[in-house]
Symmetry: C2
Subunit: 849 residues, 2 copies
């Protein structure tokens, strides 16, 4: 017999009601569970996604029937219930049903202050959320009174040219419609997308009978949770406030009571020991049954305890990791589930460094701590600039009066965010926490001027775009200059967690590390080796730059060789150190890549100084700079092209690598360096470099009477190299896809120049995602597949990998795993993320979603 | 029984000797044919490629045996015999066997002058070609004498510290070795590669008994040919000089006789009517049998006629076409063979415009006319600059003191070549003729200074790099400024020839034409339509540039629309004219492509003027220019990205196209415009533009009450568009591969920046050819194949084509034909070449090579 699916506009939640989180949302499901756990939950009705979607489209359910589900004529609240708690939703509305008549009744039964508080709360919420009036119209009075109620009602009438609705059904219609529509707005859509929800995600709503929290006898409300939301350590935290509703206890902290006995003041434990004990019991029941740490929202109404909700504790990423580790250790969830529960990018937050507490701080701005962590960078005043700087790998702090959804991409690009306006729930704060970017909001003592690109602090000091500051999102401060930091958040739970990830994952995670410092960091982050060591960064240090420039200005190969000879010992020393730090783990060194003009000054002063240093006429220096200028440096004389044009450079580098390998092998296992050729587009390029490298290897072995083994590979960055991977693989041991450049060339799109339209492109769905953040599996990915297949066909033992930003992106990692790659390589701070993403991908393959 | 292949070091050429041009070269084969035709050819011995290759490697054949083949002790000559005549070879050496003893004998029998001439010629040739002495050491005396001989011998002894070899065998060894080695030299290798020979092509040599041409009775030498080598018209041309050898008659024109009766002086026809008649007879026999126009080299020795050789007439491309047309019309060869005989690139020469004879000329340089045709362009003084300018589509004239093989690529890039030194056989002259580039050499009155980048003319005027001049390679002059020209060389034979090509070919040839002028030219060149009409060039005209800049500076969409409204009538007028000129042939218009900053000034003065014109502060203009600057403009905000960012531009263009189509359709067949979207990388881009274009089409049809049909297509320029061709083709009617940009992106290589290393890359064989000249069928070609296959799978009636420089390259055309493309599109002057190349490709498919 076929099952009849009947459409229910609403469902009263009971132990056995048919509630499905995929239809009614997480909150409806959660409330049903609490009911099943015998918690004293007030009567609740759930509206499905379908119903709410219908409301937004103009199909209002029968609200009289909904209200009648509550019997009598109670006050009710409406709260959002999206499929996943983290996807958010519109704000709750309490005290629906309040009107003039009921107010008069309550003045009699509860007194003017309590009745006025209840009515005022409803009028204000309704005016702002339903009638879209300005928040400022309704200042909260210190003591709610009849006068305040009358003023609020008058304001409402003036602004709307209508009476405040008195009919509870009409009120509910307004609330449901505004919440349903708010969910469909563009900004809400963007916000939930930023949180990982699909744009078309549904919203459910729950209508719940109010437990008033105001009244005779002990009445009030509070929240209780069982961990420290920052560290995740076990600890009862929360507040209780007499004669209050909702989350008032968290707002009015001065008057609120502690929950456990506390030397700082009175506590609920002392005031109502029975109720306290019941709450603790309920908390334990929740943890075991809900398999998570919950924040319990409770109301005491005239001595009776009501549990309104138990929502997941809002927690830092560090705490999130500790919670799942604790749940797994208590056998409440499996390790695999623990791994699956943490979105990889959340780990970024744990890894953000903190300001070193030992360092002196020069505070220039004090604001509200809105998102933890600290970062230093150049001040910028627009999202576009932030994106442009990020594209050039420059750290920046984005300072804005306030942020809007248009800024989300800029905020993603910034290392830290500062706003003049707003509070902990402002757009900037919410988004920054979601992104794990340190953020300070409400820095009202400074003036941020986007036009003049300046920030003026309280004492009149002007900070211009480009000045370096440090933002401390944990303390809510901005400090002058770049302040010393310590790596942060990684505690024992974090290490256990990543250890579990390593047990599960089946693809290596290497790191992009250019210096011995990077290498040390990489080891701490548990990288399986170095996948990309960019040697050119080594040339930018002051003492090396001079030799580099002499090399560029050398007219004869001999002079060039002389200049390079100065660089050889420096490179060798760097490599030796890196090999030693990596202690036998593989190190893949990419030969010199950038165009030479990157090493030359571009301003007048720099050119004059260079002319002096080289003892050449300025005109000569200028001419050489002009000659090296390129129309499209990305597509110019760089990488292997430079290696073939000025072969002395690669010769020097190969020598430095081989000598360092021998030095680092002394007294230990032999180091087997990996040498990678950049920007290859033709097989012959590989053959030529290979022959020269081989010759250098032979020479070094003879000179040093040592035995060397090394592996040669190619960085596949041009579409042509991917197409010709079969031929190329015949001459090398590994292929590493440089997906940054490969994406640029496949799209014909420079990352540095895409900023001006990428935002609009992603918003309009022209590109489903920014291909520089998440690998374009469809287009660029096909080149990876072609390259991998042809490479492996030519050489079955070929090592395959990707390096570049995509190496730290979960979807991209899953793609590479699926294609049978041997490793991904990403920047040091992304290594933990990549380890987790790799583990989750493996779990997904083994057990499905 | 197995055939024994025996290696013959040399073969005496007889009617029945076993001579194979693939082993002995064209000249050996040709001489055998002449013997078979009963022409009086002196005894000749052929040395095979294998023998000559052996000589270069040190394995000298038995020269005594070679000499004995001639009986007695005659004088002999050695001449090169490569597989194809046009591949060249080292210069001939005459009079081998001359020595002191024989000289004394000849003084007695022939007189001092004749004997001295014979000996001096040999000493000089031997000294320069075999002993590599400086040419200048041996000035030719007006009357050869014993003193001159003695001086020459002494010079030889001083320079070589050795006696001049007296033994004929030793002399022959020296000659054979030097010729064999010269063929293997790098410069010879490059030269023959420029002429289409494989680098490892072999050289044969022929050793021939000398017919002396000096002696008692009528003696002398001459050459006779039966066409005008410039126009190809039938006409006996050539010269005869008494008491001379080799090609002396062509050098000493003042003393030489005409062949036919001529009012200007005495003729061979009058002097020796019998011999003249025999020569004409031989000439006719040669034409019919050799199936080509030959230049007959003859010697009269004491009244006896000897035919030394009959080589293909060196002819202009115009003549070459007329010759094959004549041969085909006389049924000596088939039309197909006629088509196959002309290398497509030779047609370039025919098409080069000539200076308009009606125009006044200001001559600034007089030199030697070395390669016909005329061209105007900017003066440049290095091959690198020439290549850089060509990459930017800028015409330039390359001026050098002299050219070397290193300059070949620069000469290819230049529109004309001027050298201070050298004669008609100098490197510059030979290469220029091969390339079909107009050339003037030996302009000894000017001083060309590469360092200061100036050319100083006889009257002391200094011309700097960048100044525009016109080079007339037909007259041997350089003129001031850009002089008016007329299209040239296309005569009735040329038109017949291309008509035959059209009958054979099975792929359309369209033209890249941006203006009504281009369109008119394209029709004259027989294009099947316009394959690429770049609309942005229309915006660079003075009056339009201002509106364009206003558009760029508009802050609001309305202001932008206003500025574009000014451009609309201009674009519409252009399109209307183009549609009318093309008279129903298809016209494919590409929507706006370049980045906006190309339209802004970049020098201080230009910025100030623009600020005045726009009535804005300079700082404002500067800021906008800075904001639009891109790191990699090739990969930036251009093409469809601009079309989506500022949709008003495409809207205006679509409107102009549709209105023009309706205007041009009036009173004739309806025009069906083709609209092409540039730089697509995602399918959604096409969908969005398509929707807007469709809306404009509907609006115009309503407003104008007309019916419009149009075709929408995509320019496939990014690797991603090629990969996604299946999805894209679902939304459009045609795909045109923009192989210029596609090559840049597939290689990750900017054409503008490749100049600095491309030469070295091709020379070293890193790239087998410059992929911007000849389509990289291997890499870029695979993307074309993928795109074509996926496109056709999605839409079987999809039109496929390429546009860009490769559309005019023979190999690239053959590739596109092979892949079933519908058309190629190339620049106007390449259309005839493309028509021929398409025909040759079709013939090759039908009949094999």
């Amino acid at each position: 017999m076929q099952k009849l699916v009947t459409f229910k506009e609403f469902t009263t939640i009971t132990r056995s009601a048919s509630i499905d989180t995929r239809q009614h949302g997480w909150r409806a499901g959660r409330l049903q569970t609490l009911i099943q756990l015998d918690l004293p939950v007030p009567r609740t009705v759930a509206l499905s996604f379908e119903t709410v979607h219908g409301i937004a489209a103009g199909r209002m359910p029968d609200v009289e029937r909904i209200l009648s589900a509550f019997g009598g004529a109670p006050l009710v609240s409406v709260r959002p219930s999206s499929q996943e708690a983290r996807w958010g939703g519109p704000g709750a509305v309490l005290n629906i049903g309040m009107n003039d008549a009921r107010y008069e009744d309550m003045v009699t039964t509860l007194g003017e202050a309590a009745a006025s508080a209840l009515y005022l709360r409803f009028i204000q919420t309704y005016a702002v959320q339903v009638s879209h009036l300005d928040d400022d119209l309704f200042d909260s009075p210190d003591t709610p009174s009849r006068t305040a109620v009358e003023t609020a009602l008058r304001e409402y009438e003036i602004e709307t040219e209508d009476y405040f609705p008195q009919n509870p059904a009409e009120q509910l219609v307004g609330v449901l419609r505004s919440m349903a529509r708010a969910w469909e707005s563009t900004s809400a859509r963007l916000l939930r997308q930023a949180r990982g929800a699909p744009a078309e995600a549904g919203l459910g709503l729950v209508v719940q009978e109010m437990a008033l929290g105001v009244g005779a006898d002990e009445s009030g409300s509070g929240v209780m949770q069982f961990i420290d939301p920052v560290t995740g350590q076990s600890q009862i935290t929360g507040r209780y406030l007499g004669q209050s509703q909702g989350r008032d206890a968290l707002v009015d902290r001065e008057r609120a009571l502690y929950l456990t006995r506390d030397p700082r003041g009175p506590s609920l434990e002392e005031l109502c020991p029975d109720i306290f004990d019941r709450l603790v019991q309920y908390g334990e029941r929740c943890r075991t049954t809900l398999r998570d740490e919950a924040q319990v929202e409770f109301t005491i109404h005239e001595g009776d305890l009501a549990i309104l909700d138990a929502i997941p504790v809002i927690r830092s990423a560090q705490a999130a990791v500790r919670v799942v580790v604790g749940l797994a250790e208590d056998n409440i969830i499996s390790r695999h589930e623990a791994l699956s529960r943490i979105p990889p990018r959340a780990l970024n937050e744990v890894l953000h460094p903190r300001i070193d507490p030992e360092t002196p701080r020069t505070r220039i701005v004090q604001g509200i701590a809105a998102s933890p962590g600290a970062a230093a960078g150049k001040l910028v005043f627009s999202s576009t600039t932030a994106q442009a700087m990020a594209a050039q790998d420059e750290a920046c702090i984005l300072a804005k009066r306030e942020t809007t959804p248009e800024d989300v991409r800029g905020m993603h690009a910034a290392r830290g965010i500062l706003t003049e306006r707003g509070g902990t729930t402002s757009h900037a704060a919410v988004i920054a926490r979601g992104l794990g970017v340190p953020c300070v909001v409400g820095a009202s003592s400074v003036t941020i001027d986007r036009r003049s690109r300046t920030m003026t602090t309280a004492d009149g000091t002007i900070y211009k775009e480009g000045e370096i500051v440090t933002l401390d999102g944990t303390a809510g401060e901005v400090l002058k200059g770049a302040v010393a930091m310590v790596a942060a958040g990684r505690d024992d739970a974090f290490e256990s967690f990543l250890g579990w990830a390593d047990e599960v994952r089946d693809i290596d995670v290497r790191v992009n590390a250019d210096t011995p410092e990077d290498a040390a960091l990489a080891r701490r982050f548990g990288a399986d080796g170095i996948g990309l060591c960019r040697t050119e960064h080594m040339f930018f240090a002051e003492d090396r730059l001079t030799a580099m420039r002499e090399m560029i200005f050398a007219d004869l190969p001999e002079d060039r060789a002389d200049a390079l000879a100065q660089l050889l010992p420096m490179q060798r020393a760097d490599f030796t150190q890196i090999f030693r730090i990596m202690a036998g783990k593989p190190v893949c060194i990419r030969l010199f890549d950038p165009p030479l003009h990157e090493f030359l000054p571009h301003d007048r002063q720099g050119i004059i100084e260079l002319a002096e240093a080289l003892n050449r006429p300025v005109s000569d220096v200028q001419r050489r700079i002009d000659a090296l200028t390129e129309f499209n440096p990305m597509l110019g004389l760089r990488g292997v092209r430079l290696g073939l044009t000025l072969p002395e450079i690669y010769d020097m580098q190969a020598r430095a690598i081989f000598e360092a390998a021998l030095d680092a092998s002394e007294g230990g296992a032999p180091v087997v360096p990996e040498i990678m050729i950049p920007l290859v587009s033709a097989c012959r390029e590989v053959e030529i470099v290979k022959a020269r490298v081989e010759a250098i290897s032979a020479a070094v072995q003879t000179e040093r009477r040592g035995k060397l083994t090394y592996r040669l590979g190619v960085m596949v960055e041009t579409p042509r190299a991917a197409l010709k991977a079969g031929e190329i693989a015949a001459h090398c041991e590994f292929l590493s896809f440089g997906t940054n450049d490969l994406t640029q060339m496949t799209y014909g799109l420079s990352r540095d120049d895409a900023g001006r339209f990428m935002g609009a492109y992603v918003r309009q769905g022209v590109f489903s995602e920014d291909p520089f953040l998440s690998l374009d599996t469809d287009g660029v990915g096909e080149l990876l597949q072609i390259g991998a297949a042809r490479g492996r066909a030519a050489r079955p033992d070929l090592t395959l990998s990707i390096c570049g930003e995509h190496g730290g992106n979960s979807e991209s990692i899953a793609f590479c795993r699926g294609e049978g790659f041997d490793y991904v390589s990403c920047s040091p701070y992304r290594v933990p993320l990549a380890r987790l993403a790799a583990a989750q991908s493996a779990l997904k393959s083994a057990y499905g979603t």
